[in-house]
Symmetry: D2
Subunit: 380 residues, 4 copies
């Protein structure tokens, strides 16, 4: 599985390190949900190139960049050089020939023979296109103010003439943008997204399901997150924070079936916490006979490894989807691994339920699929 | 659904109050997992009698006893008088004619036309019989030192000549005792048990499942519980505490598939906390690339309403089981509602999974049952 | 002690209720730091009038307004009518004769024979005057855009011709504004402020002192606050939130002697939490031999009673200060009761230390000072 | 300051490592309360010998034993060999000549020219002697069943003919045993004790003081501790646990002035937690107007460094006490550093208050006392 990375930051670097250590037998499959339960082996994943726009990274070897995020000793079998990626030209009055920019990226994809792409660039604000014509028009007119880097990267992958997969781990709506999903189908592209479900939100989802199954009426939910990595730093910019907020709040009504006053969002940046964020949650609910209970959950969670572990699965599931020729976006995968599972209007479900759906998707061979789905529909 | 209670304590009293308030439209179905999703209505449950051994309760009206646990105003449509129950005669050198004692209880069952029984007596230490012959021998020989009150109550219900159900909400092994399950089958008795899964243990189960599904390797688990109700008070007696400890620890290995150093038990008694216990949990685990995360969960939970809400379901499920003529013990019910689901050697599963099993059990009509089960086996 | 209130909201109403219940013997002195340790009795406090600008309150009886915040039954001996107060005219293009407005307020002060004033209006943004000439100029020119309601109320009290006291419980800088302190001295006014130290900040102060005394090096501090009262609601307006933020952060460097990355501020509004806010704090520090420890503190705190209890002391201390003719602001009082103790440039100290200072101030008359100190030495 | 250790376990080893790293300039004075504020320098402390009864340690070099507790690289300037100590012969039917055993220990003390001793042996159960005659009788009669190892070690130090100091960091009552204090005075021995105040108890003390100063009425307190070091392991033995329980509970009434239902004790052993224990505390209190608040405090604390940091002070304070010829036990030192500060009947006080007392003791020579007090008054 030849894989390229957009955004050689914390998560990507931990992904590189973890895969290398697994190959060397230093660590096991901890944090990789499907571990050795898939036909494709973790050890067969190869990260072969990466793109970034940070000038202190471009042109550097992977091993050098990784040192910023990991202080252990590590030798990479494939110690690639970080390539220059597509910059955010919005509002810059830039004149860019977008097709040419696409061409340059594709040259590199071909040279490295990549077919799986993981989007890990910094959280950005972006408007979904909704209609594929709008997207095509923007490209044609070199309307750089309309298109975000994540959208552009996806467009480049879709344009790349072979069956590929694009795994969108950031909040930009791609799998939730009907335009992008249609483009994916038309171009034999698998699109997983949006926003990798690491961190506290999947836990919140399962806690809500736990309460729902006991018909406890939730009165309020709050979830604070604070951390010291670039993700939290970037969220101090109001526009980006907005992107994050949209993502996280939808789960409450989707899971419970009713809305509840809630405050769920990344709350602040505190540099010394580094990648190990502090999460604090408060849930108050009413039980039988009007009894008022409350839960307080605190956690210290390493953000980047949590997401990197999921990506190890997603790369392999992407390969499986390509092999099965299931193009567009795949809800049973998104539902488990993503905070805002595409396609648009798909609901969030509790992660325990998503895990079952995922396992069913993994285990079926195409011909049995309809039967299983029929059953599922009946059960719900 | 005409129901009798053994042990008119906190849980029973809150059950009485809550049912009455629901009938009067003062509160909704909060805390009752299956709420209005069952064919049998909550409002059709009738608690018609109760047995206790506390001299300050026997002979008193329900409304008077309830005052100790509930300070609201409440009028009971059926304000029964608490009857004298079966005392713990073990180690007392007592000469009791057990068959006669059974007869006295059954007279009351018949008079009140009861067919569903809920066991809510104080936690006790008891040895399972394992072999039905041993049980019958103990009864025949009036061996009062061998038989605990919970075991005796169950025996009396089994002896009562009509299809009945016995819901065992305390840790005494009944649904986990093959002797009792065999007796249940022989006498057309439904037996649900053991130890109602209120409180923090179901939450722990679902948290472990959440971690398992992400293949995080758990390093240690601790769960403290402290409260001020009689349940916690009785646990200060070492023998009773032992009973509780056995119950709660089995979930770890059952759910994770491997054992983990853990400390999960009721920890202390602190009178001012009353029925609203304080729970504190610490879970430490290893994620991708060796990252060490930790969760700390604190909760304030009203113990009695949590269990009472489950009993509202169990009474109705008991009625359904009698109607379906499914005697003995029923794992899909126990798995969700009980901490130590019978039969013996049945495993604990995550409660989210148990909830699905339960729903399947509820929804099937007998003729379809085999099909569903066959499917389920394949899927696992 | 005849007292007037500015802002008949949650805190004021709980203050009214609590005082009335104490007078009726229903409750004790819980939450009143100096309880019965002062020469002036709690029972001798009389709240005789209040001003507000909320049209749904003005003209209503106290007992009617209190119902919004307290659902118990309560009869007030002095069931006053809420008077109309001074509105925030800034940015409204209003033409107001300020001296006339002062005059109207003073008429009411005189009619009710008030000499102690408690400022409990909603958090506002305000610029300190710094120079008394600026203040006087603004008044003279009727510059309503320059003066905030809290500043105006203080000005009116200072202008009122008798020795008085003004207790500023909100973040507006009054005791921290040299102009206001000078005015206080010139007009025989006692000025306590700013921002009543209820809630989590005093606790944070004492926790930092605890760590400092063990020379543990603090690495980071975060403190989230979320609540559902109007105070939190008003903080969702960015300008007001800013006022709050300034207040709370100064304690870190003042107490530790070095700055530490920290995030300490009201974080959000969640209506169902009501007056009982949820606080979550995380402190990470380095101990001997480089060991890394951490504390997580969660609390549910009733905001209004916490502040109301302090005010019961402050009213009595204000009376004592008037009697001792100590005009201007009094640091030993502010240091314990206020988040941002005036005068300007006075440091925050740990509250345990402030409590000692306070007790010294309470107990000594200047000439007796040596005796008291000698006694204290003996006692230790 | 030539120092000997009884019990070369976790705390002692971290003390050795930390002192060595400070001397090498690798770390600062974190976790040492008085750091560089004492006339005696941290760098002048020399640990010159240690006694233990663990056969896997006796005869080994310090550097080898330390490896069990610390995985960094460290070279000791004085890499002593662990000597055999005094075993617990109680209940062993052993015939030991106690005076001879004392003589053997003293030979080693003299050879190494030690004058300060730190007791860090494993928690033990021991009966105080109360009367010095009883102690002398036990020694004379070789009554090995009457005397615990800690008591014996202290006796040996007192017998050693030079002014010395004995720092008792474990719960055995020595500074709380009038017999031992009298012996200390008679033999020119400084005795600090009992039970080093690391961990959560000092924090609890200061939290209670914080609440007391606001006259909040505490309703209940619970404090769980769980860890994986030998200290927690040994506490699983009921007798030892009892010793610990006595120590910790006395603070509540001493500080608050009234008793409160509480549960404060080491709760369990969980090996993977190692030296970094998990603490969970719950405090519920009533504030003004009957409001019910609650605090939940969770902490991860490295046990051994916390205590080792205190010992760095205690060794230097011991030297100062010897120089000042203040023999017997010294309450102002014990009150801050010990959980159960001697002498017997001395009360626990909040640690913030004890810290002031300590500073006063440190700074004054008897004749200078008045001056210092005068200065302090000026400073405030």
């Amino acid at each position: 599985m030849r894989t390229a990375i957009f955004g050689q930051g914390y998560v990507a670097s931990i992904l590189n390190v973890g895969l290398e250590r697994i190959k060397k037998g230093e660590i096991g499959y901890e944090g990789i949900p499907l571990g050795d339960a898939l036909p494709l082996k973790v050890e067969d994943i190869e990260i072969v190139t990466a793109f970034d726009v940070d000038e202190t990274k471009v042109g550097k070897r992977l091993s050098k960049v990784v040192k910023r995020y990991w202080d252990g000793n590590i030798n990479f079998e494939r110690d690639y050089i970080i390539k220059e990626g597509y910059r955010d030209y919005r509002g810059q009055d830039a004149e860019i020939d977008l097709e040419e920019a696409v061409g340059k990226l594709i040259d590199e994809y071909e040279k490295k023979d990549v077919d799986i792409f993981v989007n890990l660039i910094t959280t950005e604000h972006a408007e979904p296109f909704m209609d594929i014509k709008e997207l095509k028009k923007a490209i044609k007119k070199n309307d750089v103010d309309r298109i975000s880097p994540a959208q552009f990267y996806f467009y480049s992958v879709a344009t790349y003439e072979r069956p590929t997969a694009f795994i969108n781990c950031i909040p930009t709506q791609l799998a939730n943008d009907p335009a992008m999903v249609q483009l994916a189908k038309e171009t034999k592209t698998v699109l997983f997204g949006d926003d990798g479900a690491s961190g506290a939100t999947p836990l919140t989802a399962d806690l809500l399901e736990h309460l729902r199954e006991r018909r406890r009426r939730i009165n309020s939910i709050c979830q604070f997150n604070i951390g010291g990595n670039t993700d939290f730093l970037s969220l101090t910019e109001p526009e980006r924070n907005l992107a994050k907020e949209v993502t996280k709040s939808s789960i409450v009504e989707d899971i419970l079936g009713y809305d509840v006053p809630h405050y769920i969002k990344p709350t602040g940046y505190l540099e010394p916490l580094g990648d190990k964020k502090f999460v604090s949650m408060h849930i108050s609910y009413t039980s039988f006979n009007g009894a008022e209970d409350e839960w307080i959950i605190n956690a210290r969670i390493n953000d980047s490894p949590a997401l990197a572990g999921l990506i190890v699965d997603l790369i392999r599931l992407a390969r499986m989807a390509i092999d099965r020729e299931e193009y567009g976006t795949i809800y049973p995968v998104n539902a488990f691994y993503m905070k805002m599972p595409g396609p648009k209007d798909a609901k969030s479900v509790a992660k325990v339920k998503a895990f079952e759906m995922l396992n069913r998707w993994v285990n079926v061979t195409p011909e049995k699929e309809e039967v299983v789905i029929a059953e599922r529909v009946e059960q719900n």
